[in-house]
Amino acid sequence: MARQPSRRRSGEGLTAGLLVGPATAIVLLSLVAPLALLARYSLNQYDRMTFMKEAFTAENYLRFVADPFYAGVLWTTLSIALVTTALCLVIGFPIAYGIARMQSRWKSTAVLLVILPLFIGSTVRALGWIGLLGRGGLVDSMSGLVVPGGGVTLLYTSFAVAIGILSINLPYMILTLQGVIESIDARLEEAADSLGATPGRRFWHVVLPLALPGLATGGILVFILAMNAYATPFLLGGARFQMMAPMLYREYAVNNNWPFAAAIAFILMLTTLSLTAASTLLLQRRYQGA
């Protein structure tokens, strides 16, 4: 006998409210309040003497849009984030698939190997890349051996930043995809097999469509991480290579321009949010009915 949902006891609503209440309060205090404060700051004016003057102006936003330098930094940040996300998907999928379908006792070791890099902070790992890519580093001296006198310094290039972010984000992508692929019944692939699908067509018609929600989740996660990367672009990009998060910090802490820093923060957040929302909507439309 199915119970009518309208006949639920009135006490249930109260209990649920009590359970959700504390968490809601914490979110309000720690997330919404600072954001509101930041939004307010972004409309203030910078002042040389007092640093910040109460105002209600859009000039901080207009400055960002009008100056091609800032638009260029946003564009660099976006392209680095998109490229590393795409690379994470392409490199991460086969690894995640391999681990998800592993049956041997080495599976947990493989998962551990993926998690292991997460134990080391991004700053320490960036230092590792400096040793590898910098002048006199491993790549430099190795190439110097092959072509005498012709060393290669990859540090402080977009390549160095991209590979640094990629190495940090890849484990998140692999772990997300592994979970999704494991939830796809292996029998579905066997069914496709027995019906005459070659491995390539099996992947295209069965595995990929079923893994798509997971690819979206992993993609969004990694994209957000890349958009907001701080230590990696700061250490591997050097002074001339600018991304949003380091620039935001410099405006805030070095130039003491809180209103402009707040505006940059909002522009970064809104760009990330709108792209994430757009990709989610796109996928949802594709998935209607299924």
Partner: protein
């Protein structure tokens, strides 16, 4: 069997995982159009055998020949075997029509041909109205029919069924079993099915293969397995058998323990350890005053009326009970033997089966001398 080469021939097929043999030298011949059921307890290797034939698992040794062609090393997508999975494994992101036509699309069949074949198969499984539904919008029975239709659509060389009924409600099973049989016969398909349920196996098979611990225990039609099991495992697994261990003397007296002896109906050329298999419904309970001499006398432990028969439990020496089914036909109102009373038992020559110490069935050497009336 005819002199024609068999349609499917499996030769000494083995699959080892480390030192464990999941499938151990399984050999089998299947004629075209035949439905053969692999039956056994879980872990007996029946599913692995099916997966070896489908090509999902690579054999450690042995050969699979279909129409004389060796299938070793052939990937599953080139084997043209229609598989019906226990979980159905329907593609959740495709409609019924897309699921069924998947194999045809993979064969790059022209669209018009796909459409007509789809219509044909949908009619066959009576799912015309469901073509645009998604699997999760169907009942279990309907999903099962889609899975079957999907396998039939490609006109497979061999239909493989892995526990096809185990996810269905009990009252639906018989109906679906008949349906599978009808479709398989109508299409003239050769089929191999795996199940752990002997009723299901008995109802659907032309021939059965009983497996245990990776090995084939016996192959044959239902009646042969029931009437002439080749070892105690088959005797116990197909139907039920009481297995009585004892020492055979004079070829026809089996001593079961202190003071209990079974007088066999036939003579066997064996002395020493032996096992007697008796089916509960083939043992007669002699009513008091019956002049027939008893082959064995045991004490009644319990008697339960269960409808078609009365189930008696009789105490065996050294613990354990013998189960006996006394038909209730013409027995209405008759008194049952009370617990504790002694019961005389008898059975016919065709109902006893003797296995030697290495569990091989023995052929009778002739009738045993007549029993003296008591």
């Amino acid at each position: 069997m005819s002199t024609r080469p068999p349609y499917l021939k499996i030769e000494a097929l083995s699959k080892h995982y480390g030192s464990m043999a999941a499938v151990d030298e399984v050999s089998l011949e299947v004629a075209a159009g035949e439905m053969v059921v692999l039956l056994g307890p879980s872990g007996c290797g029946k599913t692995t055998t099916l997966r070896l034939i489908a090509g999902f698992v690579e054999a450690s040794a042995g050969r699979i020949l279909l129409e004389g062609r060796d299938y070793a090393g052939l990937p599953p997508y080139q084997r043209e075997m229609g598989m019906v999975f226990q979980s159905y494994a329907l593609f959740p992101h495709m409609t019924v029509a897309q699921n069924i036509s998947f194999g045809l699309r993979m064969r790059k069949m022209p669209a018009a041909q796909i459409a007509s074949r789809l219509e044909e198969v949908l009619a066959l499984v009576k799912l015309e109205k469901m073509a645009d539904r998604y699997p999760k919008q169907l009942s279990g029975g309907q999903q099962q029919r889609v899975a079957l239709a999907r396998a039939l659509a490609i006109r497979p060389k061999l239909l493989l069924l892995d526990e096809p009924l185990s996810n269905l409600d009990a009252n639906l099973r018989q109906e679906v079993a008949r349906e599978i049989r009808r479709l398989q016969r109508a299409a003239g398909l050769t089929a191999l099915m795996v199940t752990h349920d002997q009723d299901e196996a008995m109802a659907m098979a032309d021939r059965l293969v009983v497996m245990d611990r990776g090995r084939v225990q016996q192959v044959g039609p239902q009646e042969a397995l029931y009437e002439a099991p080749e070892n105690p495992f088959v005797a116990r697994f197909i139907g039920h058998s009481n297995l009585l261990r004892g020492t055979l003397r004079d070829g026809c007296r089996l001593r079961l323990g202190e003071g209990v002896e079974a007088q066999l109906a036939q003579r066997y050329n064996l002395a020493g350890d032996a096992t007697l298999a008796l089916r509960p419904e083939r043992i007669r309970l002699l009513p008091p005053g019956d002049p027939t001499p008893a082959r064995m006398t045991l004490a009644v432990e319990d008697a339960t009326y269960v409808g078609a028969h009365v189930e008696y439990l009789l105490a065996l020496p050294g613990g354990g009970s013998l189960i006996l089914h006394q038909p209730t036909t013409g027995l209405a109102g008759a008194a049952r033997l009370a617990p504790g009373s002694r019961a005389g038992l008898s059975w016919d020559a065709g109902s006893e089966r003797i296995f030697d110490a290495s569990d091989r069935a023995l052929a009778a050497a002739g009738p045993a001398p007549a029993l003296a009336s008591v």
